[in-house]
């Protein structure tokens, strides 16, 4: 990593807000995300963390504030001032989005190989052999057997689907990946495997990740920094282990003390 770019944030969020009529989705959210950083956004349902993720991934238009992203060419752009074509291109090349429900992030009726290859074809790859080779490579990296390449994800287990969704996102070497409860709804053992896989991939690829989760264990295992949200606002933020081991805000203390110990 060059010293020059190392000190510039990849993503800068500036007083971001979203109102649904008179109801507040989220308000006054500001933070910076640097290359290789994993930021966990935690809070209960209704805390505004999902609204925030939708804003960050430009699926929602904010009512206040701005998001600036440092593009691959080094220029810094306000993501809401990008043209629709530029934004969609960004979403399928330099960004990734891992949905909680893999069916939302995959094409369930087409094969695993095509699911992984789609982004390559979308950016103009027209060599079947190369696409297939890349798909096989990525299936291997997410621990899906090579002989499942021509099977549709309909026949996959929940954990496999989620791993396929990750491969589908990472095939274009994105620099920023959004994750919405990526381990939600999975069995504990399946969760552990997925978390371990994610941890490895994130570290190996130097990915920047914004992960929304209500599971503090997931946040602890994956993230460097944490942001606690409540009623649409960020109430506490800092090093993940610091916030979880020495929570300051009453609500954070409640969240941390509400985790079941095994």
């Amino acid at each position: 990593m060059s010293a020059l770019t190392d000190d510039l944030p990849l993503l800068t969020v500036d007083r971001l807000g979203k109102n649904y009529g008179s109801r507040i989705g989220c308000r006054d959210v500001s933070f910076e995300l640097y290359a290789g950083e994993v930021l966990a956004v935690v809070g209960e349902s209704g805390s505004g963390k999902s609204t925030l993720l939708s804003l960050l991934s430009t699926q929602l238009q904010p009512t206040a504030g701005a998001i600036r992203y440092r593009m691959r060419d080094g220029s810094v752009r306000d993501v809401f001032e990008l043209s629709q074509a530029e934004r969609r291109f960004l979403m399928r090349t330099d960004w990734g989005f891992v949905h909680q429900d893999a069916a939302q992030g995959l094409r369930m009726a087409v094969s695993a190989g095509a699911n992984v290859g789609e982004r390559l074809m979308a950016v103009g790859d027209r060599h079947y052999g190369n696409i297939r080779h890349a798909a096989l490579d990525w299936l291997g990296r997410v621990e899906i057997e090579a002989d499942r390449i021509d099977d549709a994800p309909r026949s996959f287990s929940g954990g496999m689907r989620q791993r396929l969704q990750i491969a589908r996102n990472l095939v274009t070497n994105p620099r920023l990946v959004f994750m919405d409860e990526p381990t939600g709804g999975l069995d504990v053992s399946v969760q552990a495997r997925l978390l371990d896989l994610l941890r490895g991939l994130v570290a190996d690829l130097g990915l920047s990740v914004i992960i929304v989760t209500h599971d503090l264990a997931v946040a602890r295992l994956l993230s460097h920094r944490i942001m606690v949200m409540r009623q649409g606002r960020v109430i506490e933020t800092g090093l993940t282990d610091q916030v979880l081991d020495d929570p300051r805000e009453p609500y954070t203390q409640l969240l941390v003390s509400s985790v079941l110990q095994v």
């Binding site: 095509a114 290859g117 979308a122």
Partner: protein, 299 residues
């Protein structure tokens, strides 16, 4: 020529409707391959029988036109005969089975073997105009994809073909890119006919009645069939020539002759086949084939 039926406006549709359709056609010609919405009318035939094609034909037909109607290459199937009679009755135009003589050719699923010429117009009947439909069910999304020229998804379909069959197994409605811009469904013609669309001197119009879309390929427009670098586009090849007229390099239909496995391959373009036979070309089964195939009394 039959007498014009007095109860109808020329070519069945009222003049305002025809103007509306012509405007859509003009727009379609101006933006090759782009699907133009139009206010499709109820026609006196069921959807799936060519209501889109019939409306386009009705809108462009003039008194001096000579109309040919084919269905899967044949001039005398029920669908082709019905549409031909429809326009004889409502427009009183001359009809023909001869490709070279026709000024307007309405077709279902084939392009004639005789090369089309300048001044001719071919009207395709289209069931589903959206090539991305089976991969992306949301119309809002497919329109955006066309708008932004995001066509990677179409290659996903071709990828699936190769992964499943070892080659691109799509044999009809094979997707094309028109004028280097719009992805287009050429209607369910066999991919054999795709090269005929490229740089054709004729005007090509496409009408989808149920889906209410019109699109077009103006004369001399580049039409490229999608493929992969390592799996290039190929047309269907036939092992044998036509069993009746010995034509090679044409699209053949398989005809089952009996319950004992007897079959033959004959031109799908019946007019082309008959013309060749009249010129003296003789296929290996000519004279043995049943009358329903050769349309000649068996010897």
């Amino acid at each position: 020529m039959t007498t014009l039926h007095p109860g109808y406006n020329f070519a069945y549709l009222d003049e305002q409707t025809k103007r509306m359709i012509r405007r859509a056609i003009l727009k379609a010609v101006a933006i090759p391959g782009y699907q133009v919405p139009f206010a499709s009318r109820e026609m006196p035939m069921p959807y799936g029988w060519g209501t889109g094609g019939v409306q386009v034909t009705a809108a462009i037909l003039g008194e001096g036109d000579v109309l040919k109607v084919i269905d899967q290459g044949s001039d005398d199937t029920t669908n082709a005969v019905s549409i031909r009679k429809f326009f004889e009755k409502t427009a009183g135009v001359e009809t023909t089975t001869e490709t070279a003589r026709a000024t307007v050719i309405q077709t279902r699923h084939r392009i004639p073997e005789t090369a089309l010429q300048e001044g001719q117009t071919i009207v395709y009947q289209v069931p589903i105009p959206e090539p991305l439909r089976f991969l992306e069910p949301r119309e809002t999304e497919t329109r955006t994809m066309h708008g932004l020229e995001e066509y990677g998804l179409m290659h996903v379909k071709l990828y699936e073909d190769i992964a499943t069959h070892g080659h691109i197994a799509t044999t009809y409605a094979y997707p094309v890119k028109v004028n280097g811009r719009y992805l287009m469904d050429p209607s369910p013609t066999p991919k054999f006919d795709n090269p005929k669309m490229d740089m054709s001197p004729a005007l090509q119009l496409f009408g989808a009645g149920r889906e209410k879309r019109i699109y077009a390929i103006p004369p001399y427009t580049k039409v490229v069939s999608l493929d992969f670098e390592d799996h290039p586009f190929e047309v269907n090849k036939f092992d044998k020539p036509c069993a009746l007229c010995a034509a090679e390099g044409v699209y053949l239909d398989e005809v089952i002759l009996d319950d004992a496995g007897g079959r033959m391959f004959v031109c799908s373009d019946t007019d082309y086949c008959e013309t060749r036979r009249a010129e003296g070309h003789r296929g290996e089964m000519l004279g043995e084939a049943p009358a329903f195939v050769s349309r000649e009394p068996a010897e």
